[in-house]
């Protein structure tokens, strides 16, 4: 009978296993650091929402002095942070869900401000509402999102985009969906007109002022 080194395989297996556990713990430690980031983001969104509310109150009188695109840029930054959290923590995470809802409320608040700005200050700003879904027709939504990202980067001073998960059920969002008769994803509301299904870059560009 020849030698079999069970203990060698076992000890190396154990060691590999340990390293795996350490690795997972370590990365969780990093993500718990980023969970502090989450709290920060959460706070930021809340504060921002609050200050936007205040701001719009104040701004309604002096609205033409507000830099709309500056506001949008800050919001997009927040949105990207939430995306990262969603990727790390998963879609079903409560914090992520809450943040996304807050974020969409914030988007709505900002959208109202922009509308006001457009009317009162006589400015040419293109507003797009984008209703997407990660479940139904997800690949079309993804394509549409890609095109919109592109347009947003291409027209930094003439276009604001607000994206909403069509699945989301906040009263405010439901009202908007009802007003524009949005039924499925992807749908776009480009300067108050509804378009259902994927819209090409050329089509959207034609609709821009």
């Amino acid at each position: 009978m020849r030698k079999i080194s069970f203990n060698k395989y076992f000890s190396v297996f154990l060691m590999t296993f340990l390293i795996f556990v350490i690795g997972i713990l370590l990365s969780q430690n990093i993500s718990s650091k980023s969970s502090k980031e989450i709290l920060k983001t959460q706070k930021e969104v809340k504060n921002y929402l609050l200050s936007l509310n205040l701001q719009s109150e104040i701004a309604s009188e002096y609205i033409c002095r507000v830099d709309v695109f500056d506001l949008t840029k800050e919001k997009v930054n927040l949105g990207q942070q939430i995306d990262v959290l969603e990727k790390n923590l998963g879609k079903e995470n409560e914090i992520v869900k809450e943040l996304k809802q807050d974020y969409s409320l914030l988007s709505i608040r900002q959208w109202l401000l922009v509308k006001q700005f457009k009317e009162k200050c006589n400015k040419n700003i293109n507003v797009i509402l984008f209703f997407y879904s990660n479940e139904i027709n997800a690949s079309e939504s993804e394509s549409q999102g890609f095109v919109l990202d592109y347009l947003y980067e291409k027209y930094p001073d003439g276009l604001v985009i607000y994206a909403f998960d069509v699945e989301e059920n906040t009263p405010a969002l439901n009202t908007i969906k009802t007003i524009y008769e949005v039924k499925k994803a992807p749908s776009l509301v480009v300067n108050e007109r509804l378009f259902t299904g994927f819209q090409s870059k050329e089509k959207i560009e034609e609709l821009l002022i």
């Binding site: 020849r2 395989y9 000890s11 590999t16 795996f20 997972i24 370590l26 990365s27 990202d149």
Partner: protein
């Protein structure tokens, strides 16, 4: 597109890689020192057999290097077997004929037959098979014969180094051989070395008892190794006995060589499949199964990730076609996000850890074979493994289809 299936594959791969790199590293660190070169009590007569086919350029140099080794001249003979070369190999070799050099020519029949012919003409106790493009180091024989003091050991292998590597492909192989020297040492420590390649020393009594080199396989050296193991004898791996060899300098040639090797492994594992059995100790329980699993799993991974990459590429092309490939506004859009994601990902940790272990294996191998450090290791790491995987798949496909790859 990341699915649970992807995660399973990635973590299996990471676990498997980490396990094997740790295994080889730890076993060597634990036993490497104890397995250093054994003391020599007596110097047996050695017959160096050089099979040569169309080697007129190298043959004189090889014979000279064989004669030049530090070993008692009356205990050394060199036997050149010209396999009916089309060039003047035989005439060149004849010039070197003398007291300890015998030169023969025979009808063309392939390397294994030429070696067997040489063995029949030999008078030594130990046979060294030396390819015509391989040169022994001066200390090669003295540093290895000690292993034969142990009657269990039927063959002993020198460490193989690359003769003056010039281009990147040769340098990559130099690094691979350095790593392999250590891995083969671990095979020996575990009593599972199962190949007898270029420069191998073999006890003639074993060949007399159990037959010549096989002529019906692509890798007669692997067959001989499996045969030694099947009879429950051992093959030793030395790190301080060195032979230099010339390696393929083009990717195409390299792929061909590796296809031949992988095919030969499969062919001979199939021939000796009864050894996939704990009766054959660590070899049967671990090293043979892991070789098979390695070939199968690597082939699967390769195909899977190629298909996946093509799918992703199509997706990217599709998305970019929607914006008429006007990508300039999008550049740097995702930079920050990607970086954050990469750092908080445990896979990165495992990949770094495995790479580090692999690097340590290379480093230990390098120190033990006194090789120079080569920065090209990084290139080796990224590209070279793809070439190896490709060769394995070609070999596997040939094997499953039941036809030998062309030379």
């Amino acid at each position: 597109m990341t699915t649970i299936f992807d995660d399973v594959i990635i973590y299996t791969t990471l676990f498997f890689s980490l396990f094997s790199t740790l295994f080889f590293m730890l076993i060597f660190i634990e036993n490497g020192k104890a397995a250093k070169k054994p003391k020599v009590k007596k110097y047996p007569k050695i017959s160096i057999i050089i099979p040569a086919y169309n080697e007129s350029k190298n043959i004189i140099k090889t014979i000279k290097s064989a004669l030049n080794v530090d070993y008692s001249k009356n205990k050394l003979e060199v036997i050149v077997v010209d396999d009916h070369s089309k060039d003047d190999t035989f005439i060149q070799a004849k010039k070197m004929q003398g007291k300890s050099v015998k030169v023969f020519t025979k009808n063309h029949g392939g390397k294994a037959r030429a070696v067997n012919f040489g063995i029949k003409k030999s008078t030594g106790e130990i046979i060294m098979v030396l390819d015509a493009d391989t040169f022994p180091d001066k200390k090669c024989l003295k540093n290895i014969v000690g292993y034969f003091e142990n009657p269990e050991i039927m063959a002993a292998l020198p460490a193989i180094k690359i003769w003056k590597p010039k281009n990147l492909i040769e340098k990559c192989q130099a690094m691979e051989y350095t790593t392999m020297a250590l891995i083969k040492k671990v095979f020996f420590i575990m009593g599972s070395m199962n190949c007898a390649p270029a420069g191998a020393f073999i006890r003639k009594s074993f060949i007399k008892k159990y037959g010549d080199f096989a002529t019906n396989t692509l890798t007669e050296d692997f067959e001989m190794g499996m045969r030694v193991q099947s009879k429950n004898f051992q093959i030793a791996q030395s790190l301080d006995s060195v032979v230099y060899t010339v390696v393929p300098d083009k990717i195409k040639k390299l792929v061909r060589q590796r296809v031949r090797w992988s095919y030969g492994s499969l062919e001979n594992i199939a021939k000796y499949k009864y050894m996939l059995n704990p009766k054959y100790g660590d070899l049967g329980l671990f090293f043979l199964p892991i070789t098979l699993f390695g070939i199968g799993f690597v082939s699967f991974l390769f195909i899977y990730f190629i298909v996946k990459s093509i799918y992703n590429l199509i997706q990217i092309i599709h998305l970019n076609s929607l914006i008429n490939f006007d990508i300039f506004p999008l550049i740097d859009f995702d930079g920050k996000i990607t970086l954050t994601n990469l750092i908080t990902n445990e896979r990165t940790f495992f990949i770094l850890f495995t790479s580090l272990t692999a690097l340590i294996i290379y480093e230990i191998g390098r120190r033990n074979t006194k090789e120079k450090f080569r920065i090209e290791y990084i290139g080796y790491f990224l590209i070279y493994s793809w070439i190896m995987s490709l060769s394995q798949i070609i070999a596997l496909v040939h094997f499953l289809a039941g036809r030998k790859p062309k030379w």
